[in-house]
């Protein structure tokens, strides 16, 4: 078995190496970054046949055995997230050269460190190690958001930093209390050593990660930060980084039987309503997409909050949202690059000069609002069915109505950007169009054959529901 820390180490060393490569070796730097991301993506693709659906790989980082040292745990839920992180990271790194024209080596280095942080969160099997990698991710993203150094980006970054740092200190407090209660930091070891009453520390950790997930009471940083960052960073933030909070909440739910599903449900409903209503009022294309992210995060957490009937639907919608929102941000980036403004009322008639982007945007709009034959329909339909089967069936009209609202503002955006006739412009470069094509075809393929994913997801969730699997894999039975 190949050690699973290899991709983390490769990306970390590449991140340290890029500031060393001087100005004269521009091409080498780009190739190095792209190929290291592609390598880690392919590594996990090859690993997936070993892991799916219910194998667990445990890797000790040094020679120390789990409760003493730190270990990495790779199960199928982590593998899904790792594939998404490295895949979207690779596609986003392809377009960096178009948006970043100065201080490239620092940009690349922080970008890689952010990805390393996310991978570390997903891979780790240790509570404090999770906090450390969470901070790597956060600090790299603070630096990346303020990259353009405009007034708006500085303000967005300080807002994001203050709120997010408050969340991290709550997480640290929670971790400290967990250590005080159990005397250990290993996730598998905590399961058996938890005392009777352990709600307080985990509620602190829960609040901290809800801040990062951008659910409604803590959402005010999200549209600013996601819209002011450079496009590749926006893709990573809106596509993958906000899901890290939900990943940790989901993982802790499976491991420690925490009863906060009802809170997630309420927060999810509030996020659906607030996100969609705010997105209706936006003229700025990136802000509209960011508010749409809030609303879709609401859908995912609503489905997860339904309990065991909704886990498959929620996870499936999470995967779909990563694909769709990354594609939409890439399209928004290439549109903004062409017309030099982010105001949608000032764009028109781009449809003929940017056919790939127009079709991609249409696919994304249909998919995210749940039109049949696209991937969003499959997952949203599953969410509706799960709502009807759960105890909250009277709530089913809220997701359906707000799907229509979503379709409304996306179609308005489509017609105002691509509709009508405008002056002829030159075609976009293939490097900008290639990631969009890849993601669009994935959306359609998953939309036509959803059972490819859902059957496997059902097996994955079933194996996760039995936490004895995790415990036995790490500490032995």
């Amino acid at each position: 078995m190949m050690p699973v820390y290899i991709p983390v180490v490769v990306l970390l060393i590449t991140g340290f190496l890029t500031p060393l490569i001087g100005i004269k070796l521009k091409k080498l730097r780009r190739i190095l970054v792209n190929s290291s991301l592609l390598f880690s993506f392919l590594f996990f693709v090859f690993l997936s046949s070993d892991v799916f659906p219910n194998k667990i790989i445990v890797q000790n980082v040094s020679s120390w055995l789990p409760p003493i040292g730190i270990n990495m745990v790779l199960d199928s839920l982590s593998l899904i997230f790792l594939l998404l992180i490295t895949g979207i990271g690779f596609l986003a790194s392809l377009v960096v050269e178009k948006y970043v024209h100065e201080r490239k080596s620092e940009f690349y280095s922080l970008f890689l460190l952010m990805i390393v942080g996310m991978m570390g969160i997903v891979l780790t099997g240790d509570l404090f190690n999770l906090y450390v990698f969470y901070e790597i991710m956060c600090i790299a993203s603070y630096g990346l958001i303020v990259f353009y150094r405009t007034r708006k980006s500085t303000e967005a970054a300080i807002k994001y930093l203050l709120i997010s740092a408050l969340g991290s200190s709550l997480i640290l407090l929670g971790i400290a209390l967990v250590y005080g209660l159990t005397g250990t930091l290993n996730l598998a070891d905590i399961i058996t050593k938890l005392p009777e009453n352990y709600a307080i520390p985990f509620s602190l950790i829960f609040v901290g990660f809800v801040v990062k997930a951008g659910l409604v009471p803590f959402h005010i940083w999200l549209p600013d930060a996601h819209s002011e960052a450079p496009i590749p960073v926006s893709v990573m933030l809106s596509g993958v980084l906000v899901k890290m909070g939900l990943y940790v909440i989901l993982r802790f739910y499976f491991l420690f039987d925490l009863n906060y599903l009802f809170i997630i449900l309420i927060l999810g409903l509030a996020s659906i309503i607030v996100g969609d209503l705010m997105a209706l009022q936006q003229k700025d294309i990136k802000r509209m997409l960011a508010y749409s992210t809030i609303s879709q995060m609401g859908y995912i957490s609503f489905a997860l909050g339904l309990g065991s009937v909704g886990f498959v639907a929620g996870t499936f919608h999470l995967i779909n949202h990563v694909l769709i929102k990354s594609m939409l941000f890439l399209i928004a980036g290439s549109v903004v690059l062409k017309v030099k403004t982010r105001d949608m009322t000032k764009m028109k008639g781009l449809g003929f000069s940017m056919p790939v982007e127009a079709i991609g945007f249409l696919i994304g709009a249909f998919a995210i609002s749940g039109i049949p034959l696209f991937n969003g329909f499959a997952s949203k339909f599953m969410i509706y069915m799960a709502t009807l089967n759960s105890g909250y069936s009277f709530l089913v009209f809220i997701p359906i109505i707000f799907s229509v609202v979503t379709l409304g503002y996306y179609m308005r955006a489509f017609f105002s950007i691509f509709g009508g006739t405008g002056k002829k412009r030159e075609k976009t470069k293939w490097t900008l169009a290639l990631p969009v094509l890849v993601l669009a075809s994935l959306c359609v393929i998953i939309g036509v054959f959803p059972q490819l994913i859902t059957q496997n997801l059902q097996l994955v969730i079933n194996s996760l529901l039995d936490k004895a699997n995790y415990y036995c894999a790490v500490l032995g039975c």
């Binding site: 970390l12 790597i136 600090i139 709550l170 070891d189 050593k193 307080i200």
Partner: protein
């Protein structure tokens, strides 16, 4: 920021934090992993400073993460102030 929101958030935080006091006793050395560090650290890591042994040997991966955090922060600060005047004149 308006007053009611502030009051609600502060009371929530105070409740959370004061609940620390009602968490049952943090029992010392009943079943902790740090027992292992205290008893076996010298023979396993060869370092008399047990904290140093824990930081650089048992939890070295954490420390690597910590140094990476520091590197990321440094890089962020360095990037933020590199040739600031070029942007500022716009």
């Amino acid at each position: 920021m308006n007053k009611p929101l502030l009051l609600i958030s502060l009371t929530l935080l105070a409740v959370f934090v004061l609940s620390v006091l009602f968490v049952p006793n943090f029992s010392f050395f009943s079943n902790k992993i740090s027992n292992h560090y205290i008893y076996h650290s010298l023979e396993e890591t060869k370092a008399p400073n047990v904290v140093g042994g824990v930081v650089w040997d048992y939890r070295a991966y954490d420390t690597l993460g910590e140094e990476t955090v520091l590197f990321a922060a440094t890089l962020g600060v360095y990037m933020l102030f590199k040739k600031l005047h070029v942007r500022d004149k716009k």
